[in-house]
């Protein structure tokens, strides 16, 4: 490669790194972007919870309900409704049950009536979140390695892209539409450069979240492989050690009533602008009961977006002293900031939307790159007079992924609406619907011409997305007009985003339909497409 200069060599690297992993990266980026709103999506996918309307007596009412719901509990936690979920969740461990993350008993509660509600069985937004870094249907470690390698390639692609883009400052604000390949390149550049800090941050932080698996050699070398010791010494990924909740023992003595929650909640709400996210009680009904209130969100990334906690004596309601937070070292702080920025657990709605938009821009960056690869090679296909099989493969994968994946996601949402509530393995079938439709989208372009395949998938996807809010009109508490009228932005936001996605896909299809190939680039469009149709 003596002939290639620095920039050209990087352009070559960028093109091939981007192409070979582009489809996987598109899927990871799109599901990741949706995962910013995974709780909202999960709520939308559980219409049984949509009647739940929280008010300012909710916390009290729910805490009261816990007495009858979990009379023998050694420990219970009530997750209060908030801007991401209008329903409440109660989890408790009876005396003698082991305290593990997903153990004990758990039930969803209506915020208005404090009655238990049984939502339909669904993985909700959690499926998209898990897919984002663990794909599906394969051993967890293998999937994480695949995604991890793709992420490392993405980092190389971003850096080589910046090196290649020689006019990065001059063309910072440039977009020239209707100029064929030039426009696709402008779009790819714009989506990449304008959100470059986000793309670099999200890619690097993604690597850090997987770093102990991808790069264990530091631990190996310094700790001779004793990873447990490393985690203990590093402060367990920077998380503050939670005070020991020694439950599972017999309650001491007689039943002592719990303190009234109202003044405790009032104290907490004065301190925390976004309110209380959960209430936990250990050893309720005894004289050593402890009530812990947890803040919604957090205000420092350095602390891993950890929310503040207030602990009260369970009987008297007196505020207990919390142990002072340990100081955080620089490497821990750096890790915490990056991982917080990736997971955005701390973020309120406006900031979450900005991250979501950035994610959409990143997804568009990958999509425009994939399309650009095809468009750029049209002249040489012209000359050749036929389509090489590699190019055809790229075209098929482009359509099946860039248009097909959104289509499959729409199918997932439709499965959620249509599958019978009592069906066995319901959540598995929702997921299967997603994969079946995606597979169909990958096969469909083999049977159609390039342009027609794009149009069909874009139109179908647009239609499916647009129809989802319409379907909700038939559901009692879920439809858009009701949610807008009541100010229930949780549902309205989802429905409006579905409509916006439909509009975007429809717009893309409409523009494509009207597209006339430029005379300069393609001298005989009809001949090329008929050849493609007969070859396909």
């Amino acid at each position: 490669m003596k002939a290639l200069g620095f920039r050209q060599a990087n352009a070559w690297l960028h093109t091939w790194a981007g192409l070979l992993l582009g489809w996987l990266l598109y899927a990871v980026f799109l599901t990741g972007t949706l995962s910013f709103f995974q709780e909202e999506i999960t709520f939308w996918m559980k219409p049984e919870l949509h009647a739940s309307v929280p008010d300012n007596q909710t916390a009290q009412r729910l805490a009261q309900a816990m007495q009858s719901l979990a009379p023998n509990a050694a420990q219970w936690t009530l997750t209060l409704p908030g801007e991401r979920n209008a329903g409440a969740q109660a989890q408790w461990f009876d005396i003698g049950q082991p305290i593990v993350k997903r153990g004990g008993q758990s039930v969803a509660l209506d915020a208005g009536t404090a009655e238990p509600v049984t939502p339909r069985e669904t993985r909700g937004g959690g499926f998209l979140y898990r897919f984002h870094f663990e794909l599906y249907g394969m051993p967890r470690v293998l999937a994480r390695w695949i995604v991890g390698i793709a992420t490392m390639v993405m980092l190389v692609a971003i850096v080589s892209g910046v090196i290649t883009h020689k006019k990065i400052f001059k063309e910072f604000f440039t977009f020239r539409p209707r100029k064929g390949q030039r426009s696709w390149l402008d779009a790819h550049n714009a989506t990449a450069v304008l959100a470059l800090p986000f793309h670099l941050m999200i890619t690097y932080s993604g690597l850090l979240l997987l770093m102990f698996m991808l790069m264990p050699w530091g631990v190996e070398s310094a700790y001779r492989g004793d990873t447990q010791k490393f985690f203990n010494e590093s402060g367990g990924r920077g998380a503050r050690a939670a005070p020991a909740m020694g439950a599972g023992e017999q309650p001491l003595g007689e039943q002592v009533p719990l303190s009234d929650f109202a003044p405790l909640l009032a104290q907490a709400e004065q301190r925390w602008p976004r309110g209380v996210s959960s209430i936990s009680v250990t050893r309720p009904g005894t004289s050593d009961a402890v009530i812990e209130l947890r803040e919604r969100g957090g205000d420092s990334l350095i602390d891993r977006g950890n929310s503040e906690r207030l602990r009260f004596d369970g009987v008297s309601g007196a505020l207990l002293n919390s142990p002072p937070a340990p100081g955080i070292s620089t490497p821990n702080a750096i890790y915490n900031v990056f991982s917080s920025l990736h997971l955005i657990r701390f973020a309120g709605a406006p900031l979450r939307w900005f991250f979501f938009i950035s994610g959409v821009v990143g997804t568009a960056m990958i999509a425009t790159g994939l399309v650009l690869w095809v468009v750029k090679r049209l002249p040489e296909r012209q000359k050749l007079g036929r389509t090489p099989i590699g190019h055809r493969l790229v075209e098929v994968l482009n359509i099946g992924t860039v248009a097909g994946l959104p289509l499959a996601i729409a199918a997932y949402f439709w499965a959620n609406r249509l599958l019978p509530v009592g069906m066995t393995q319901r959540s598995d079938w929702e997921i299967r619907s997603f994969f079946i439709v995606w597979l169909l989208c990958l096969v469909h372009p083999l049977l159609r011409s390039h342009k027609r395949a794009w149009l069909e998938q874009l139109w179908v996807a647009a239609g499916l997305f647009a129809a989802l809010p319409l379907f909700s009109v038939g559901l009692a508490h879920s439809h858009l007009l009701a949610s807008l009228a009541q100010g229930q932005w949780l549902l309205a936001g989802m429905d409006l985003t579905l409509l916006a996605s439909a509009a975007l896909l429809g717009y893309g299809a409409w523009k494509l339909n009207r597209h006339q190939p430029l005379h300069r680039a393609q001298r005989q469009p009809r001949t090329v497409s008929t050849r493609q149709e007969s070859a396909a």
Binding site: F172, F173, F175, S300, I357
Partner: protein, 107 residues
């Protein structure tokens, strides 16, 4: 507060884009004097730097800076679209934006 940050970022990027000959010509039909463009560039950087302040005041330093970075991207994206399709809207929006956002925040 987010809106003030967005407005200042947009105004900052507008000033920066207008400090280049190409985009100045897109909006004003002439390339602008070098002095004018220098001043616009300075103004642009000041506005972009200033945009971090509302976020930091309301949300604390680390979250505020993260917000600012996200808002910058959105503001820049909006500007690109306007430059391509509606360049005439840029100056009015850049000038009125911060004051409108301030008004929204105060009331």
């Amino acid at each position: 507060m987010i809106w003030i940050c967005l407005a200042l970022s947009f105004s900052g990027f507008s000033a920066l884009s207008l400090s280049t000959e190409r985009h100045h010509a897109q909006v004003f039909e002439d390339k602008g004097s070098p002095l004018k463009r220098q001043l616009l560039r300075l103004l642009g950087w000041l506005l972009l730097a200033g945009a971090v302040i509302p976020g930091v005041i309301q949300l604390g330093p680390s979250v505020g800076i993260a917000l600012w970075a996200a808002v910058l991207s959105v503001a820049a994206g909006g500007l690109v679209i306007l430059l391509t399709y509606r360049p005439r809207l840029i100056v009015p929006l850049a000038v009125a934006g911060p004051s409108m956002a301030l008004a929204v925040w105060m009331f």
